[in-house]
Symmetry: none
Subunit: 210 residues, 4 copies
Amino acid sequence: MTQIDDAPRKASRIQRERQEQIFQAALDVFSTHGFRGASINQIAAQAGMSTPSLLYYFNDKQALYRAILRRTIELWLGPLHALNETSGDPVEEICAYIQRKIDMSRNFPRESRLFAAEILMGIPHAQDAVFEPLRDTFHIKISLIDRWVNAGRISQQDPHHLMYSIWATTQHYADFEAQIAGLSPNRLPTLWEDADAFLVPMYRKLLTPT
Amino acid sequence: MTQIDDAPRKASRIQRERQEQIFQAALDVFSTHGFRGASINQIAAQAGMSTPSLLYYFNDKQALYRAILRRTIELWLGPLHALNETSGDPVEEICAYIQRKIDMSRNFPRESRLFAAEILMGIPHAQDAVFEPLRDTFHIKISLIDRWVNAGRISQQDPHHLMYSIWATTQHYADFEAQIAGLSPNRLPTLWEDADAFLVPMYRKLLTPT
Amino acid sequence: MTQIDDAPRKASRIQRERQEQIFQAALDVFSTHGFRGASINQIAAQAGMSTPSLLYYFNDKQALYRAILRRTIELWLGPLHALNETSGDPVEEICAYIQRKIDMSRNFPRESRLFAAEILMGIPHAQDAVFEPLRDTFHIKISLIDRWVNAGRISQQDPHHLMYSIWATTQHYADFEAQIAGLSPNRLPTLWEDADAFLVPMYRKLLTPT
Amino acid sequence: MTQIDDAPRKASRIQRERQEQIFQAALDVFSTHGFRGASINQIAAQAGMSTPSLLYYFNDKQALYRAILRRTIELWLGPLHALNETSGDPVEEICAYIQRKIDMSRNFPRESRLFAAEILMGIPHAQDAVFEPLRDTFHIKISLIDRWVNAGRISQQDPHHLMYSIWATTQHYADFEAQIAGLSPNRLPTLWEDADAFLVPMYRKLLTPT
DNA sequence: CATGAATGAGCTTTCATTCAT
DNA sequence: CATGAATGAAAGCTCATTCAT
């Protein structure tokens, strides 16, 4: 097993508070500048501490970045984990998943952008941190959808396309917010609110078997 | 100052060739590192010239970046400009637009990512360069769709949501390619090919009036 | 004030053990990186304790360095102190001194290198620590040799040159070991063993009066 | 003196001047602090330029260090190269080599100390730069001495010991100058002058066959 | 006693940019 | 036109040291 050496040290209470300060600042800065564009000076300043203090908690820039990314991905996987067969209706199950994804984007737009930025730039810093927790869950859910398709319980769709299009649409309001703010400034808040009212029916219509 | 100082100088043939070299290199580097993460040294090296030579063509880093962005946006607007009433059927008109957007993403993934990166980071360097050419066209097309909706020629949808969801889905395979490559490595080429086969019917189903 | 503030504090048994740990680590690190190149972090790590713990025993980096140096010099003076008139023959007296110096270099190569490094760099940190204990003994022994020369009991030589050449040759295998290891790798151990067999006869031939 | 061209050489002439400035400063600083203890800031300041300017000529600290070291070693090898069979008498041939080594130490004490410091610390930065040019010449000369010994033209000595003791004694006045200055301050200049008067007869006596 | 926590100063290096040629 | 040369600013990171616990 490869040792996870970029996890924060064993934590006391003060340590955990400090780490949380750093996380918040790092989220801000990394999500708006990307890894290379962000500076740990800026993060430290925003976290209200000196740069060496920050580096006392995270050995270097990469370690901090990967720690945030790891945490973000775990958060991100929550809605996907909850996608299963507990409810009777696969269509509604997927619609509920979409709803949860939208809520997550609404509540954690910085995390969404951080993740998007990393992917956009080719995932150069965290191949394992990204895919290790993601891959298994992804394929399990893809299989689940595939079974639903084959059982005729949802319409005939490629599960990969379905999943990726859900991700694209549900994260779009977080990731491309600046564009929406520029193009539809007075609609921005209502669009955030409405997103589910648009997307959920769209996918319900798509998925409902004829 | 409304002086447009980041446009490249008037160019001879040789100059235009060198500018094109710079464009290609800059596209590569900016799209994979973002504005702050990219270095003009790296761009100059990749373009096969010295940094001062590069700066002879573009006054500074921002000017180069904005020039590329401007060019990218113009390219990007092509499919949207072509969305109009020439064909008789609005549903098919929009489907054709989706098809063109997908083709564009397929052919110009770096441009898509460059644009996405800029938006993701809050459009800090090019508010005007992005929105000046985009805004008018966007609103014209939104109005057009709105008229189609009001005339009952397409189903009742918020044109903003419709447009944004089209953008999200059609650009996703370019912008998030690294994720798809990691999660569905053996499906990657077919997904690129299939994208229209999934998306166009989805939107046709959504838009076709009942 | 002639306050000696870089001597270690009065010590319990446990304390003396920890000091010894520090000494050993510091000897390693200082002798291979010099004063400025060495870091007390590295020393503390190698001594198996935290840096503040190390600094509890030695007030600062200089104090630690000077303490080691002082100790080393005392060790170093042992062979020289034993150079006197107890044996009847001055030539053999000096040959015995040479033998003792060689043995010392063999047994304490790190100490030799530490000392050599300090001198090489101009003795910037420990003028007094080096010369205070050394000077008197040195001049006493120089006078002794001078008397031997004047009494015709050893050949006519400048005592200074004699002493320095003895120091140079007897310490060379310790101080320049890396060079010898590179140039005569398979001879290295035998050269260490042989050193006295070469040097003692050389000086005996030089010193025996005609 | 024999300057030939003008225009095309000009840039590299300036470059060589600048490099020489840097060399002199670097020699000073590296020889008195060792590699890790030296700072390129200090070197740049002493060379009268900014640190980035220095790094324009030498890509990084190591490159600068190795360049000086390489140059020093070439200088150092001069006297050894000249050790051969041209003069009829091997004893005098070796004595002449000793004389040349002493002269070199006298004229280039900083170079001697730089070299000594690198060896003292275990040659961590320049194994190849040190040994590549040194090894072959060393072994050729060792063989030469060995033949002289076997032919009975010099006394029976291990060539390795002989060579190392010559190196030790001839470089000692440069490398350990600070110690001599401290112990024999009023003798320092005369000792420098006398060194050959002491060492050459010593080795002549040692080497002359009985 | 021992260490977790903190930081100013300094390190090596890269960056965007200017200027003379 | 093109580049060698130069640099202030800022980057990531290490260092010796202090202090509270």
